[in-house]
Symmetry: C2
Subunit: 193 residues, 2 copies
């Protein structure tokens, strides 16, 4: 009951996510956010709480949408296929034809003032969590004999995550998908047989 919401909350969140993606958490002002969302500040506060909670919801949406390749990659049958799918996914997501370059979780708040330490730490956890999941998948691969017994799952996961982050920066630098795919191929040359 009550007056119905006059805008599509999903579409508004999607647009907010893109602004955060392009500008980072602190670089995205409420004026630009609500402008892109097509609503007033009052409506944003009523629907999402405040700027930080809007970012948290946008990050959730990012994880379920553009960054879903992380979860999908883990389901590949072999460790090598996982690594390849992960990095190819990173390339695709960080170079969307019509969207912002780079990765929301990297450029969201790599460095920031003290007031947004909470968001900074949230993103650190997000990034580290992806590494932990990758490590678990590689550990399984060792147990399954898919990776050599002497392979170090944590080390491999950290390497792949490092490549993923590097790809995000290179995408923000203007590299195109074809160039980044070459980088991925080069990175996997030393992958354990």
């Amino acid at each position: 009951m009550g007056r119905p919401r006059g805008f599509d909350i999903d579409q508004a969140l999607e647009r907010a996510m893109r602004v955060f993606w392009a500008r980072g958490y602190e670089g995205a002002s409420l004026a630009e956010l609500t402008g892109a969302m097509g609503i007033t500040k009052t409506s944003m506060y009523a629907a999402f709480g405040n700027k930080e909670q809007l970012f948290r919801k946008a990050l959730q949406r990012y994880g379920a949408g553009p960054a879903a390749y992380v979860t999908r990659a883990l389901e590949e049958p072999t460790a090598r296929a996982v690594a390849l799918a992960f990095l190819r996914g990173a390339v695709r997501t960080t170079t969307p034809p019509g969207g912002p370059s780079g990765c929301l979780t990297v450029q969201g708040a790599l460095a920031s003032s003290d007031e947004s330490r909470a968001v900074h730490d949230l993103l650190v956890d997000w990034r580290n969590d992806a590494g932990v999941r990758l490590e678990g998948r590689f550990r399984r691969a060792v147990n399954e004999g898919d990776l050599p017994r002497n392979a170090d799952p944590r080390r491999l996961a950290r390497f792949i995550m490092t490549m993923g982050f590097g790809i995000a920066v290179q995408a923000a630098n203007g590299l195109v998908p074809a160039e980044l795919d070459e980088v991925v191929d080069t990175a996997l040359l030393g992958w354990p047989a």
Copy 2:
């Protein structure tokens, strides 16, 4: 002639650099900058011009100081030694015992609002320039027979740069030097003989 400056301009710039390094360009406020520099805003404007020019000077100092490993690495005798020195240097610089984690040129302004687009572009150029120099060094290595004739210098340079950027993000994520050195070793497993 005139009243002499009451502070060490080099030391003030060094401190400003560290604030930019930790906070990013937009995240570093004039209040925090001048506080760390130990001077007032008036003195800062008289000595450096404005915030953007202060950042440009800080970036210069960063290139000549913490990031000097880039130039030093290029002087190594072989392509492999160059790559190794570059990445080891990135690890050391992004994990200083008493200083901010990460790389100033990466977290300075990866994403930002429109007003600091100039700084954003400056950093994009800075990062790309490092890649170009690396590419030139690898091209020389091919000519010298140090790298196989079919090696692609641009591709190798992009790969090493990607690793460097990834290391910067991982450092900001809290990884310690020993862990990052392992990542470097893993990355070089597929390096052309």
